[in-house]
């Protein structure tokens, strides 16, 4: 899209109390002075410009804002940025290197596991956490693991297939 510039407003107005947080985001240490009430999702999106983390429902139900917090999926729209101080956060942008794709990303594309794409980053992160715990899940296990993430487009069947596709690929990678 043309005409877009970035104006990063990391610092709130001077008279607002802030706290310095230091978070390892996608392997890189990032620091920001934040209002204690700032949500983690907003820190990631607004200050760090990692807009792949979406906010959908504000109540932890939809999971569009799912990120990995020390490897565990959390809803970043109901977590404060200060709670992440000193921790590791992985967003969709950190799933793979610059010109690479993680098998979960390939799986979603290959099995048509997305339509509008809004829930996709959260879905992929929740699925990644599942596959780390359980490299060979059944369909039911995938459905259960993703039940904190809502999708309005796909009806989930292809999302499940995408995760199973990625599981297979990851297994063959670790075998070789």
């Amino acid at each position: 899209m043309s005409g877009l510039n970035e104006e990063i407003r990391e610092l709130p107005a001077a008279d607002v109390p802030t706290r310095r947080v230091s978070i390892t985001v996608n392997g890189e240490k990032r620091t920001a002075d934040v209002e204690p009430r700032l949500l983690l999702a907003h820190l990631l999106r607004q200050a760090f410009r990692l807009t792949g983390t979406h906010t959908g429902c504000d109540t932890s139900n939809c999971g569009a804002c799912t990120v990995l917090y020390d490897g565990t999926p959390v809803k970043s729209c109901t977590m404060l940025a200060v709670q992440a101080d000193g921790h590791q956060v992985t967003t969709v942008e950190g799933l793979a290197g610059p010109s690479e794709l993680h098998p979960i990303q390939e799986g979603f594309s290959d099995e048509h596991g997305l339509q509008c794409g809004f829930c996709t980053p959260g879905m992929m992160l929740a699925a990644t956490a599942l596959l780390r715990e359980n490299p060979d899940p059944t369909e039911d296990e995938v459905r259960w693991a993703l039940s904190g993430n809502l999708c309005r487009c796909t009806g989930y069947q292809n999302i499940v297939k995408s995760v199973l596709w990625a599981a297979k690929k990851l297994q063959s990678q670790s075998a070789s």
Binding site: G3, A13, L114, C116, G117, F118, G155
Partner: protein
């Protein structure tokens, strides 16, 4: 045969081509409205009414202004001073942008704040003090029509009651005669509860008025950017060429992002006043309680039947609840959308429909929630009435449908309400579905299960629905005819860019439109970029909703490709040094009829258009097509569901779902199947859990995802998909559209299955949603469970 093989290779018609848009979405690089940041951008938040019906006695904004970082506070009074307190709706009504006199539904916009960041704007909204004088709330059509009901729209001259419209269609006398001849009359009363399309992404906009150029650019979550441009030109009285609407990636739409919302208008005014970009991003509660809902309609239906199963006539009356403002996004001629497309797949001699719409103290809407203007309700009512009639007659439900289907050789067929259906093989679709589910075997299994006290049921829903509004004779929104458009520019190296007046929101236009061009021109789909959603660059179109993209914009893509091919043919004749009449076309190549080896590719023609055109020929290889469809397209769907109901709890589990869709020619089978599975899930959602209701005070129950239930991967059943292909005879590539069929036809299959399972209780109806407690109530009392689920409060 060679052509077919080559065509799949270049990503043409019928190729399950991987989606090009996925490349950005899987990387988290989509560009949704909230991802856009402009220099000097401010943030807007809206203060909403906590009450459903109340007079505003005072608004004190002084404390909001005192908060550092607040740049603007707007109230209805201030909007009124600029003549912007009210705006026109898409159905010739008016809607308050910010309330001036009174609030008419819970969640109505009362004030807004623009500040340096969204947190400050929210703080400031909370600092605004509004005093209300509560008025009695009206929450259903019955109350709206009651003697002495409070007048909701006292702002309108000549509005003396709460009726929005009375409308009728069909043949009243002929229907009366049919009923006089009936052996049996089957009657059913139904409610289709209020539902919200609820895309995961809420609505939002960034208005950017630039004083130096007088140009207004608005990034907006809209499915219909050109309609918005026209509306902004009219409402804000800005010149249309100075308005640019950009609809970037949309996180789902489903009809929710068609109307014009007050938030858009306020962000535009704020940007004009402040001369800075103003971003408004709605929160989920705001989206659920204030933006376009779907359904909320009551039916009384009667069917005149002959003992042998022939339907002689149908009579229907609907009462629809439109909320406080009549803002349905639908063709202006039809007050209750395309409700009268009901019973189109059956050969019925006479039918009559009366419809009454009323105002209530609920959010405005009546949008086409994943359907072609109320056809979801139409087909649900149809298929519930069909099952009840089959049961009343004692005829097998599949056989009853078959006896009344329009026959394959009876097209085009005039429906009892005057539509002309284009084509179909209804009996074949039903056969495929029955075969797939193992119908006879299931009936036996059901009888066996009954002996063990288990309740199995099977539900069928078959329907054809009208897509692709529409022909310009009958279809317009605010007087703008419902055609669509495509513009194709072929570059000199044979690569191309295509722009259309539609707007994708997950349907995959960037992938499928290129496939249509590939089919028509033989340019590989990978060589074609597709762009939509920017009114400064896209040709005028009516946008994407009501499954109209493939039938209308998709047809325009084929037609513009043919225009380009016609010019390429002239270039080919020049290059081959023969006359045009001596040239033949095969995919991607012109050749001399008498010497097939002597030919030129479409890419060579493209190069010639810029480097070697014949004398007198206009250079370049591009064109634009506006497509006004001759008729609607009529896809057909057959959905069959089996369930088991737990007699102890009323919980029902879906055993199998079989879907047979005939959507004509399939452009990208993978995407078609994705659309069908998404649609089936919304059907399951509405049948099982997804509804919005209101308490007696007009409080919306369903204002967040803890109260408004959407199915997760865990509850959602698996799907078995089958196809039949009957090409549309009038669409350039024979496609009919598919995005909404399963949402439209699906709900009745689930409900019919549950009711089939408990048929022995004598219960004829449970209104949606079929929550376990409602099913349990029916099972234990043997009585129908009707109407919206009651709101249980602590003091009851």
């Amino acid at each position: 045969m060679t052509q077919a093989r080559d065509e799949i290779k270049i990503g043409g018609l019928g190729a399950s081509r991987k989606r090009v848009e996925d490349n950005r979405f899987i990387r988290g690089r989509g560009r949704y409205v909230d991802d856009i940041v402009l220099p000097r951008m401010l943030h807007m938040e809206i203060l909403r009414s906590p009450l459903a019906h109340a007079r505003i006695t005072s608004i004190d904004v002084s404390k909001a202004w005192a908060i550092p970082g607040v740049r603007l506070v707007l109230t209805g009074e201030m909007m009124a001073s600029r003549n912007l307190a009210w705006m026109p709706t898409l159905s010739y009504d008016t809607q308050a942008v910010l309330a001036t006199d009174k609030v008419r539904f819970q969640g109505q916009e009362v004030a807004c704040v623009v500040a340096d960041d969204p947190y400050i704007a929210k703080d400031a909204c909370e600092a605004i003090v509004v005093e209300y004088e509560p008025l009695p709330a009206i929450v259903n059509p019955q109350q709206a029509m009651a003697e002495g009901a409070p007048l909701i729209r006292d702002d309108k001259e000549n509005q003396h009651d709460n009726v929005v419209f009375n409308w009728e269609v069909g043949d009243s006398d002929g229907t009366d005669r049919a009923f006089a001849q009936a052996d049996l009359v089957s009657t059913l009363e139904l409610h289709y509860p209020r539902s919200h399309p609820s895309p995961i992404e809420c609505c939002g906009s960034i208005a950017d008025f630039d004083r130096s150029t007088s140009k207004l650019t608005v990034y907006m979550t809209t499915q219909a950017p050109h309609i918005i441009r026209a509306a902004v030109a009219l409402v804000a009285e800005l010149p249309e060429h100075m308005i640019r609407i950009v609809s970037p990636d949309l996180g789902g739409g489903f009809g929710n992002k068609v109307p014009v919302y007050p938030g858009y208008v306020m962000s535009i005014l704020a940007s004009i006043l402040l001369e800075r970009p103003v971003k408004w991003i709605e929160d989920k509660t705001g989206n659920l309680i204030s933006t376009g809902f779907g359904r909320d309609i009551y039916l009384r239906g009667e069917m005149a039947l002959r003992q042998d199963g022939k339907i002689l006539g149908v009579r229907m009356h609907t009462d629809s609840d439109h909320g406080a403002f009549f803002s349905d996004a639908q063709p202006s001629k039809f007050k209750i959308g395309l409700m009268h497309s009901t019973f189109a797949c059956y050969d019925i001699p006479a039918a009559h429909l009366t419809a009454r719409g009323v105002y209530t103290n609920k959010a405005p809407g009546g949008v086409a929630y994943r359907c072609s203007f109320r056809v979801t309700e139409a087909m649900f009512f149809q298929e519930r009435m069909m099952q009840a009639a089959a049961d009343d007659l004692g005829i097998d439900q599949a056989e009853f449908r078959r006896r009344n289907f329009v026959r394959d050789d009876d097209f085009p067929h005039r429906t009892p309400f005057g539509f002309l259906t284009d084509s179909g093989q209804y009996g074949k679709c039903l056969d495929v579905g029955l075969q797939a589910i193992g119908y006879q075997e299931f009936l036996k299994e059901k009888e066996e299960a009954k002996k063990q006290g288990r309740l199995l049921g099977i539900g069928i829903s078959t329907m054809t629905e009208p897509l692709g509004a529409g022909n310009s004779r009958e279809y317009d929104i605010l007087g703008i005819k419902m055609f669509d458009s495509a513009e194709l520019r072929v570059h000199m190296t044979g690569k191309a860019i295509l722009r259309t007046g539609a707007k994708t929101q997950g349907q995959g236009h960037e992938t499928t439109w290129a496939q249509i061009v590939a089919h028509e021109l033989g340019i590989p789909a990978a060589d074609i970029t597709v762009e939509e959603g920017d009114t400064d660059t896209a040709p005028f179109g009516m946008g994407t909703y009501a499954s109209r993209s493939t039938p209308v914009a998709g047809a325009a893509v084929a037609m513009v490709s043919r225009k380009v091919r016609a010019k390429a043919r002239k270039l080919a004749a020049h290059l081959l040094e023969v006359s045009e009449e001596d040239i033949e076309w095969e995919l991607g190549r012109f050749y001399v009829r008498s010497a097939p080896d002597h030919g030129v590719t479409i890419q060579e023609c493209a190069m010639a258009a810029y480097s070697n055109m014949p004398d007198g020929m206009e250079p370049g290889l591009e064109n634009v097509a506006y497509y006004d469809p001759p008729n609607l397209t009529w896809p057909f769907g057959c959905y069959i569901v089996t369930v088991e109901v737990d007699p102890q709890t009323g919980v029902w589990d879906v055993l199998r779902v079989v879907a047979v869709d005939d959507c004509g020619v399939r452009i990208n089978p993978m995407i078609v199947e994705g659309q069908i599975m998404g649609g089936l899930t919304e059907a399951y959602a509405m049948a099982s859990m997804q509804f919005m209701t209101f308490d007696a005070q007009g409080n919306c129950v369903g204002s967040n995802y803890m109260d408004y239930l959407l199915p997760t991967a865990w509850e959602t059943p698996g799907y078995e998909l089958h196809e039949v292909v009957t090409p549309s005879p009038h669409h350039p590539i024979g496609a009919k559209g598919v995005g909404e069929c399963a949402t439209v036809g699906g709900p009745a299959a689930f409900v019919n299955a549950v009711l089939d399972a408990i048929k022995d209780t004598g219960v004829r109806n449970i209104d949606m949603p079929l929550l376990p407690d409602r099913v349990f109530e029916a099972l234990t009392t043997g009585r129908d469970v009707s109407g919206a689920p009651p709101v249980r409060t602590d003091d009851q």
